[in-house]
């Protein structure tokens, strides 16, 4: 195995171990979307009526509608959580150990991104398993076809978190930023309601939802659950993910310094 892959393995093992040790984080990651799925969906089922979002051709239940959005929610929260742990590592000093290892810095940041995405995948599939226990499930093939979509959406949202972490220099500032970022990102998307509903009330809000990369992450997963590829969402995710990583590389360059 090359030095680069050994470093990737070391970083993934470390992050997974840290995640396993933080049981409350894992429980929270499962409980948060479950509350939406069981409680919120029960209340809103009647408000929306039967929905037929693309690529579906027959109406689906509201629970089935929000399932991709809740997977996206897990990815979004975990992306932010990973960014938070990066800020924590920077404050606690362990970031120095990572950045002084004899590998290109861009690769070290990609390793962090891949390891956080691996944890996201773990959480999403654990959630889908629990949702299945509640009787909310997709065709078996959908679980397989969703894997690359969840992975790519996780990469994009992880890159978003990394880009944010690089411009936040204190742990205390991060909590506030998370609130101002997570909630608008989540609510200005197609995760909980079809965008046509949003368009009915405000053209500006609709435009914001359509620009929001999170909307495209949700739609990519929704299509993948049904065994389809949403090419425009895929292109949007790849493009925004690349931009976020570009910002991260620029922010973490040694020229800018990390003391």
């Amino acid at each position: 195995m090359t030095a680069s892959l050994l470093a990737l393995r070391a970083i993934v093992i470390r992050d997974v171990l840290r995640f396993v040790h933080q049981r409350s984080r894992f429980v929270a990651a499962l409980v948060r979307p479950l509350i939406w799925l069981v409680v919120f969906a029960a209340g809103f089922r009647g408000a929306f009526g039967p929905l037929t979002p693309p690529p579906h051709v027959t109406p689906i239940s509201y629970e089935m509608y929000i399932l991709p959005g809740l997977c996206g929610m897990i990815l979004l929260f975990n992306g932010m959580q990973s960014a938070l742990s990066l800020v924590y590592d920077r404050e606690m000093g362990s970031m120095r150990i990572l950045l002084t290892s004899p590998l290109p810095r861009w690769w070290l940041l990609v390793c962090r991104l891949l390891s956080s995405t691996a944890i996201s995948l773990l959480q999403v599939y654990a959630f889908l398993l629990v949702a299945m226990a509640f009787g909310i499930h997709i065709p078996l093939a959908g679980y397989v076809s969703a894997l690359p979509a969840v992975f790519l959406a996780g990469l994009m949202l992880g890159a978003f978190g990394l880009a944010m972490s690089s411009s936040i220099h204190q742990l205390e500032n991060f909590a506030g930023v998370m609130n101002f970022v997570i909630f608008p990102t989540f609510f200005l998307s197609s995760a909980l309601y079809p965008l046509v509903q949003m368009g009915g009330s405000s053209a500006l809000l609709l435009a914001l939802c359509e620009l929001n990369p999170f909307t495209h992450a949700v739609e990519l997963i929704r299509f993948a659950f049904a065994g389809h590829v949403n090419w425009s969402a895929l292109a949007w995710i790849l493009a925004t993910g690349a931009v976020f990583m570009g910002i991260t590389f620029r922010q973490y360059t040694p020229v800018r310094g990390l003391r």
Partner: protein
């Protein structure tokens, strides 16, 4: 052969100059004490030596590798102990070291052997499976030194490694670092402001206000007065 070479290095934070055209060499197998009062530029120098930051002026060579043009090769040759603790408190001693070994391209039996050897060297073998959170300050510091040795570096950089340690632990790690020079031919740069950590035969670089005030053997400074006094005289004189 030169273990560490710094040439015409400068660095500024905006308008504030932290390092001003500093140069010094540390021969292979030598122990060099970098001393200077707070704000002298020691931490900036360490950040540049470890490539946490880069400067457009000056060059740094580590074991013959230019840090600017071949950063991976140069970084592979150095072991670093930062002033600020940098261990994962929730992982065991072993996990901390195997993570580090992985970052330096070691795996399997080679990594295991290196980790065991580093732990033995620092008398930490019996702590292998303890969580770092349960270790006291002295043991954590020893673990950080053990970690810095896992990939068999030729240059060891320690930024005030004795901060927060009791007298016995301080003495033990100081002696150990001197021993690494003698027995393993390792080049050591040891930043401190505690002059009792420096031996008569050590090289001393005095940094003050971002400039090298003196670069000479310790004996040269202590001919007619103790090192502490000589250091204070020099830095007071330049204030």
């Amino acid at each position: 052969m030169t273990g560490l070479s710094v040439r015409n290095l400068s660095y500024a934070y905006g308008a504030k100059r932290a390092l001003n055209d500093i140069s010094f060499n540390v021969e292979q197998g030598a122990f060099c004490a970098l001393i200077g009062p707070n704000g002298a530029g020691k931490s900036t120098l360490f950040a540049l030596l470890t490539r946490l930051m880069t400067s457009r002026t000056g060059t740094i060579e580590i074991a013959g590798h230019d840090l600017g043009s071949h950063p991976e090769k140069a970084l592979g040759k150095i072991g670093i102990v930062f002033q600020q603790p940098s261990l994962d408190l929730d992982l065991t001693v072993w996990r901390n070291l195997s993570y580090f070994a992985g970052l330096h391209g070691l795996s399997g039996q080679a990594a295991e052997a290196s980790i065991r050897s580093a732990l033995d060297r620092l008398d930490m073998a019996e702590r292998t499976h303890e969580r770092v959170r349960n270790l006291n300050g002295g043991h954590r510091r020893r673990l950080e030194i053990a970690r810095a040795l896992v990939h068999s570096p030729t240059v060891l950089l320690l930024d005030e490694p004795s901060v927060g340690l009791d007298a016995a632990a301080r003495r033990a790690i100081t002696e150990h670092a001197h021993d690494l020079c003698k027995t393993h031919g390792m080049t050591v740069l040891w930043a401190t402001h505690l002059t009792d950590e420096i031996s008569a035969e050590d090289q001393v670089v005095i940094l003050h206000k971002g400039q090298v005030l003196r670069n000479c053997p310790c004996q040269e400074l202590t001919r007619d007065k103790p090192l502490q006094e000589a250091f204070l005289d020099l830095t007071d004189h330049c204030t």
